[in-house]
């Protein structure tokens, strides 16, 4: 499966030569100053008169709300999303805001009350809301978002059926999701395993996935994929509780089943627990490969010993070193900014926050440009559909189904002494159209129809 | 008639009640006293009769007159609340009253139960005329009217004892088993308590079985006497049997008073 990097390699080359024209940049990233800044190419622009300054927009700042997991086990992901959203907002505000309007971001703990939080945001007069992380929370919110009519761009909550089946575009006007949905990383994992070991070599596979909706969804999609690609047989599937303190039973079962491939969508503390107990119980002697779509989400909690072994991890729609920061200035600048500001390695969930804000902000600016004034929620929602924009992770589109489509990343989980952190090597980038169904078709049908 | 047939109860090694056969109320309304040293099995016997414990062996039987013939009903294994229905009512050595209720509410709760009104949710608790009539009568009979609105837990011990007994009477018993109704009551008031009980049971022709340590009270008020020792019936008969029986004297005096 070939990497689809043409767009980005082009712009990289030009930025290295330093000869990129303003017009080219604008054209490349969607035609506005904020879009450029959020793509990470801000320094390429000189101050010029911007037609936006003449648009009629209110003076007061944009009130935006973000809900994410700020504490406890899921904060491993949630805080990254917070950093991402904050970084995007900071960049917007440093570049004079959207058509002159600064963004005022309020961040609140998502908890189990995402729906109530959203209502509180709306009551407080928010212009836009971002989040949540949890798929159940997201599911609860979608109808409410459409009732209230204040746009929400979900950072995550990636269960595939959500926009494919439960809330098709005809029923959904104001609810969007930026991060790739589950099928994209589950299929990428299946492709990774097949490419690496060879379809003929994979006879059996097993899964250890967190015991809640996301884990069930991922396991089902991976199974569908790997059975199609390699005709592999499922020998064990276990679903330890989310946030458990012991997975030893499942690991022992994997040890005795000796599958060729182990698939695990464990994240956060569950991911480190799996790796820790897996190493402790000699699991990596009993499997050929572990593929995990979100293992790298725990990048900041992994140690050198843990990443030892045949492990490939996904990194959803963003891996900080892809393209390599040596060659890609926007990526390097973002990485440095995050290191300096937060002292962490940005993970895919950083981009969840960054990209959700960017999707909305660039669409808003586009709307002002088109309308000559600040858009209504309805107009902005229309513009968000099929909206394309850049972040340092590359090009993203918001599909007609309100689902964001970006490249999916997968690479070998390994250790960097330079960085003193876990990294991905040998990263493969998957074009969204190769790992997600065409519009209007559900993933399950689509995979089942493969020859 | 209430009859114990070969009752036996063991607690681990200890045989608290051993082959006890007794009959109460052959003469309806009789006043029977059970005496014996501590550990003789008096309270256990009452517990077996009223259903707090089930016997290991033996049975409890109630004889009822119906249309001139005597019907025998084995109530062994019957739940205490159902024995109340059969007219078998008790009081407790350690006062068991509803501590947070007033005296009147305590008696009323028992009276409501007697009239099968406790499942009623539609009226107020004081909304049953016949119940209130009974309650007033009982409060008067047990001379509790003046403290009728006091909360039970604030009462002096003697009054609590009386209340405990009054609640038993409120259930319209045929057989009343009183476990030391005068224990802890000041000596000069003991007579008053027993007097009240006797008056009340005479009025209703209640067969009363009372555990008592005070031999003077026993002599004065008993129609019949049962002496228990080491779980068995040691003597049974008129109160006079207390006289001139050295063996019995030793059994009874070897312990208390």
């Amino acid at each position: 499966m070939a990497s689809e990097l043409t767009m980005m390699s082009d712009s990289t080359a030009e930025s290295e030569s330093g000869g990129m024209e303003r017009r080219t940049v604008l054209k490349a990233v969607g035609g506005s100053a904020i879009a450029v800044a959020l793509a990470g190419c801000g320094e390429l622009l000189e101050d010029e008169e911007d037609p936006l300054e003449e648009a009629e927009v209110p003076d007061e700042p944009i009130e935006a709300g973000l809900q994410t997991f700020l504490e406890g086990a899921p904060a491993v992901l949630g805080v990254q999303a917070e950093y991402g959203a904050e970084t995007a907002v900071r960049r917007i505000n440093e570049n004079d805001g959207i058509a002159g309007r600064q963004i005022d971001l309020t961040v609140v703990e998502e908890g189990e009350e995402a729906l109530e939080n959203y209502q509180e945001f709306v009551e407080a007069g928010m212009d836009v809301t971002f989040g949540p992380i949890s798929s159940g929370n997201h599911e609860a919110m979608v109808p409410e978002v459409n009732d209230q009519g204040v746009i929400n761009v979900a950072t995550d909550g990636t269960v595939t059926t959500l926009y494919e089946e439960d809330h098709p575009p005809e029923d959904n006007q104001y609810s969007f999701r930026f991060q790739n949905h589950d099928v994209m990383e589950a299929l990428a994992a299946a492709v990774e395993a097949t490419e690496l070991l060879g379809a003929d070599e994979i006879e059996t596979y097993a899964g250890i996935n967190p015991g809640y909706a996301f884990g069930f969804d991922e396991q089902e999609l991976f199974s569908a994929g790997i059975e199609q690609l390699a005709d592999a047989e499922l020998v064990y599937e276990g679903f330890p509780d989310l946030g458990t303190d012991d997975m030893s039973t499942h690991i022992e079962e994997v040890n005795s089943a000796e599958p060729d491939v182990l698939f695990s969508s464990a994240w956060g503390g569950d991911a480190t627990l799996l790796l820790e107990q897996g190493h402790g119980a000699g699991m990596f002697d009993n499997i050929e490969l572990l593929v995990g779509p979100v293992l790298y989400g725990s990048a900041n909690d992994l140690s050198e010993a843990l990443v030892d072994g045949p492990i490939r991890s996904g990194s959803r729609n963003f891996y900080w070193d892809q393209p390599s920061v040596d060659r890609w200035d926007p990526g390097r600048e973002l990485f440095e900014e995050v290191q300096e500001e937060y002292d962490v390695v940005p993970t895919a969930h950083f981009m969840s926050g960054y990209g959700a804000v960017t999707a909305w902000a660039t669409a808003a600016e586009k709307a002002v440009r088109i309308l000559g004034g600040w858009p209504e929620q309805e107009q902005l929602a229309d513009i968000l559909v099929n909206h394309g924009f850049y972040t340092p992770a590359g090009y993203h589109t918001m599909g007609p189904d309100h689902q964001g489509y970006s490249n999916a990343h997968f690479g070998e989980l390994t250790w960097s002494d330079d960085l003193d952190a876990a990294i991905l090597e040998d990263v493969n980038v998957y074009d969204p159209k190769n790992v997600s169904p065409p519009q209007g078709q559900t993933s399950r049908d689509w995979i089942a129809d493969w020859d | 008639m209430l009859e114990a047939r070969n009752l036996r109860k063991e607690f681990g090694e200890l045989r608290a009640t051993d082959d006890v056969s007794l009959a109460f109320g052959e003469t309806p309304g009789e006043m029977v006293f059970i005496v014996g040293p501590n550990g003789a099995g008096k309270t256990t016997l009452v517990n077996l009769l009223t259903g707090l414990f089930e016997p290991d062996r033996g049975s409890v039987v109630v004889h009822t007159e119906e249309n001139g013939t005597t019907v025998e009903e084995d109530i062994t294994g019957m739940a205490p609340e159902d024995r109340v229905e059969a007219g078998l009512v008790r009081s407790f050595q350690i006062v068991h009253v509803f501590e947070e209720m007033t005296v009147r509410e305590n008696v009323r709760t028992a009276a409501l139960s007697r009239y099968d009104k406790t499942l009623s949710m539609r009226t107020l608790d004081d909304g049953h005329a016949e119940v209130e009539g009974d309650v007033d009568d009982l409060l008067a009979r047990f001379r509790l009217e003046d403290i009728a609105d006091e909360v039970a837990e604030t009462l002096p011990h003697g009054d609590r004892k009386l209340l405990d007994v009054a609640m038993a009477f409120a259930l319209d018993p045929r057989y009343l088993l009183l476990d030391e109704p005068t224990s802890g009551v000041a000596t000069r008031e003991k007579e008053y308590v027993i007097e009240t009980i006797v008056e009340a049971s005479d009025a209703e022709e209640v067969t009363t079985v009372t555990i008592e340590h005070d031999m003077d009270l026993v002599k004065n008020y008993a129609d019949r006497l049962v002496v228990l020792h080491e779980g068995r019936v040691f003597r049974e008969g008129d109160p006079d049997l207390l006289e001139n029986d050295p063996e019995l004297r030793q059994v009874l005096l070897g312990v208390d008073e």
């Binding site: 703990e109 509180e120 609860a140 109808p143 | 609340e81 407790f92 139960s113 107020l124």
Partner: protein
């Protein structure tokens, strides 16, 4: 004194008779408070915004409060601590969700009826098993049943795992009284229906606890053995009160589902929700009828809204609860009379306030002294 409607003299005090209760009465002060309360309830959607409160959040508080009122029947009267009332709240909520999502029942009142039936059935089943237990055994058995239900729902595809079920039929919210409503209209109709039913349920509970049955439950709570020996079938009555208690929870959960239109296991069935319902009853004043309702409103508001006010919102909630434990020893409503009396005293004699402050300062000093002494003993092993 001229006759005022509903007012009569009893034992030399004026008592306000309450319609429909055949004999229950309120003191004039209580009657005024009740009237104010009813006016507040009916006016809530219109003026809560004026004082910066969200009425939908207050609505949710009321719902959990209703569950707490139900729980309080057990807590106050049969003196049983239930750690499993989320089982009924959750059954009610899932009753609505399952009927809507799987059986396409589209009328809200039908859904609510179904929810109450389902939740009550669950209470009957659990009640059958737990009625014979007391104290912590009762508490933990209810907890265990609750948690088994939670685990089942959480792990079952029929209930869509933890992602939960939408209470929408083909994307539309249920009708109410056979009519389709706008968002606001729906919420308002649901609210007023609930308030009317709430008043009926409060009245019913008030009558119940003052009825012979209520007295029997008190008897069971205060002395189980004696209750049995005055002929009360204890287990059966506990079972009945458990069922009634569960009915209140199921109703509350059902409305909650209709309001939220999406039901998930964590906010409805998790054992900590059970704990919260219990704490609502206690902090509101479990020795009163309406205390648990107030407790529900206060705790839900804190749990939901505090995060918007401060970073350390758990601690804020905890401190409020601590303050209630120490300064309102009978819960919020239970302590109102003594607080009212104390305030009246202080109006007469402002000097008392200085004494209060001194008293509080002394108590805190003593607490700090205790802490220091204790640490000294533990760390240095000396007194």
């Amino acid at each position: 004194m001229s006759r005022i409607p509903f007012v009569e003299e009893r034992n030399g005090e004026s008592i306000v008779r309450v319609p429909l209760t055949r004999g229950l009465g309120l003191t004039p002060v209580q009657a005024v408070l009740v009237l104010v309360g009813i006016v507040l309830l009916f006016g809530l959607p219109f003026f809560s915004g004026l004082v910066g409160l969200s009425w939908e959040r207050l609505f949710r508080g009321i719902l959990f409060g209703i569950a707490a009122v139900g729980l309080n029947l057990l807590l106050r009267h049969t003196e049983l601590v239930s750690f499993g009332h989320a089982a009924f709240f959750g059954s009610g909520a899932y009753g609505v969700a399952v009927l809507a999502a799987h059986y396409d029942v589209s009328e809200g009142l039908l859904l609510l009826l179904g929810a109450v039936l389902i939740g009550t059935l669950v209470a009957i089943i659990i009640g059958y098993f737990v009625a014979g237990y007391v104290d912590i055994y009762f508490a933990l058995l209810t907890l265990a049943f609750n948690q088994v239900m939670f685990a089942t729902v959480f792990r079952s595809g029929f209930f869509n795992y933890n992602d939960g079920l939408q209470v929408r039929i083909g994307g539309d919210r249920p009708s109410l009284f056979g009519l389709e409503w706008t968002t606001l209209g729906y919420n308002l109709v649901l609210y007023y229906t609930t308030i009317v039913l709430l008043l009926v349920m409060l009245l019913g509970m008030w009558k119940l606890i003052n009825s012979p049955f209520g007295r029997a439950l008190d008897a069971i709570g205060q002395d189980r053995t004696r209750a049995r020996f005055i002929g009360i079938p204890v287990e059966r009555y506990v079972w009945i009160s458990f069922t009634i208690s569960g009915l209140y929870g199921a109703f509350a959960g059902g409305v909650y589902a209709l309001l939220r239109l999406h039901v998930q296991p964590e906010p409805t069935l998790y054992v900590f929700v059970s704990g919260e319902i219990l704490f609502m009853a206690i902090l509101g004043g479990f020795t009163t009828l309406v205390g648990p309702l107030i407790g529900g409103i206060v705790l839900v508001y804190l749990l939901e809204a505090a995060r918007f006010w401060v970073t350390y919102y758990h601690a804020l909630t905890g401190l409020v609860l601590l303050a209630i434990v120490f300064f309102m020893p009978k819960g919020i409503v239970g302590s109102l009379p003594s607080i009212g009396a104390a305030l009246a005293h202080r109006r007469h004699d402002p000097g008392l306030v200085r004494e209060d402050i001194r008293g509080i300062a002394a108590a805190m000093r003593r607490a700090v002294d205790r802490a220091i002494t204790t640490v000294r003993i533990i760390v240095f092993g000396v007194n």
